[in-house]
Structure formats: C-alpha cells, structure tokens
Amino acid sequence: MKKVLVILLLAVVGFYISETFFDIGFGNSHFVNNEVIKPVKDTYLQQTVQELKVANTVTSIVVNFRGFDTLGEVTVLFLSVTALGSILYKRRHHVGDRSVLFSASSIVTAGSKLLFPAIVLLGTYVFIHGHLSPGGGFQGGVIIATGFLLMLLAYENYSVSHTNLAIVESLAGVTFAGVGLLGFVYGEQGTFLENFLPSGVLNDLFSGGVIPIIYIAVGFKVAAELTGVIYTVLNEKGEQNG
C-alpha cells in the first residue's frame, strides 16, 4: 500500500517537472536571449576580459562577482568537518589503531611512494593556474587529499599530525577573510572583497588582482580539511565482522 502511494506521488512530481523543462527546450537561444538573462551573461563575459583580465569566466564569477557565496560555502564545509569530528569522538587516540588491519602488497607500497609527489604536484598546478585554465581551489585541494588517501591506505603506520593540519586550515581561512577586509582600507569604493591590486595582462600568471591569492588560500584550506576527514574516518575501530 505504501509503495503504491509513493509511486503515485513520484509520477505526479515527475510529470510536472518534465513538462516545464520540455517547454523551455534544449539549446534554444530564445530562453537565454530574453531581456532578463542576456544582459547579465554578456556583462559577465565582457567585464571578465576587459576589466579584470582573467581568462576563466567561471573563476571570476566564483571569486570576484559572487565572492560572498564562496565565503559561505567555505564556512559550510568547515562546519560539516567539525560536526563529523565531534560526532565520531573517541577518548584516547592510539597510533596504528585503524580500520585497515594489514599492510598492502609490495607493488602497492613501492608504487604509491613514487606516485605521491606527482599527485601533490598536479594538485598544486591546478590550483595555482585557476584563473588561466579550467581548475581552481576546490579541484586542486581535492586532488591533494586523494594523494594523502593513497599513502594512508598503502602503509600501516603512516600518520599525519592533526595539529599541523588544523594550523594550516585555520591560517588559510584567516587569509581569505583578511584579504576581504583589506578591501575596506585600500579599495576605491571601500567594499568587502573588492579587487584592489592592479590587474595585469591577459593570460599572464600574475593577472587578475586578488583572485589568485584567494584561490591559493582556498586550495590549502580544502586540502587540509579533507585530509582531516579521511584520517578521522579511517581511525574508527568498529567491531570485526569480515
């Protein structure tokens, strides 16, 4: 009886959603070229190249034009990692007391020692060049966390100091908010998160004002946070059931 009611509800919801979207059409220009959406899109595309001199439009929207939402997203990620750490609370922290019981085979241990510097280098490249090619702080930070996950799964007694991770994460968050507050002092209009450094030439590494600085801070913060999450979850010693 419950399943019949659920399927009926899903059919009604699905019918109304899909009817709206089939009306809009896919790839049609009459939806994007009406008088509300077209000015916003054209203004963003034009100002990105001519005023900010940044090549990647999505980066300039995320960091500069809608930068306050990114500050909110970084706060939500920080809150969720804190909640996870405090729910899985343990009294004592033994080294080597982990879910993974045995060390991996010798191919995995030898290979991961070679791959780890390459993965960290790739992640650093992605978040430094966030304003020139696809990429940015979030993508690069997650790639670095994946590198740490590889080392944690291959070796039995590899450990990362939780204190160092907390220090890096807090300093990066303070840098983001601090650069925003400097916009009050040095900016022309005196608003929060304003771009006060000079923008250089298009496709240069030092172009775009404060955008590379903010994205590097976000990259460090996300990498430290996600490594902390993986380390907390791996140290859960549940009961042994195969």
């Binding site: 696809p134 993508q139 997650v142 966390a145």
Partner: protein, 94 residues
C-alpha cells in the same frame, strides 16, 4: 552522428546503474554503481562544454564519496537485511 550515439549510450548506462544501485542487496556493489553514475556524469558535463564542473564532479563524486561509503560499510554491516520483520524484532528482545 557520433555525438548522438555517444550521448545515448551514456544516458542508458546512467539509468541502468541507478536502478541497479537501488535494487541490489549487497551494499558494496550498490556503492560502486553510485561511483559509475558520477563517472558518466563527469563525461556528460564535459560534452555540455563545462570543464570546471567536470573536474569537480570527477574528483569528489568518484574518489571521496566512494571511499567514505566503503569505510562506513566496513564498520557496520554489509548485506541489507530486510527479510523477516518478525524474526528481526524477536531476536533483540532476548
């Protein structure tokens, strides 16, 4: 013509993986099917001309979500137990 066939195959694969993830009782296989959904989604984002979103979905959806689910399964149970309600309730009222 090639793009037409490629997109059709990817969409059918995505729906098949979603149905498999919901129906299967062995939870480890369901988690891997969710990883396949994220992989197909990342290729579709690239074909819709959105490379930033494709990078983000490929790393977060495939690597991190799968590893967190697998560690949770290792600490709890592996098979989804839905069989006899009476037996399950009686077994804990010892």
């Amino acid at each position: 013509m090639i793009a037409f066939i490629l997109i059709s195959v990817l969409l059918v694969l995505m729906i098949a993986a979603a149905i498999y993830a919901v129906v299967q009782k062995d939870l480890l296989y369901a988690v891997i099917a969710t990883g396949i959904i994220s992989l197909v989604l990342s290729i579709l984002f690239y074909l819709l001309q959105a490379p930033d979103v494709a990078l983000t979905e490929a790393t977060i959806g495939v690597a991190l979500t799968t590893i967190i689910f697998v560690i949770t399964i290792r600490n709890t149970e592996r098979m989804e137990v839905e069989a006899d309600k009476e037996e399950n309730i009686k077994s804990t009222k010892k």
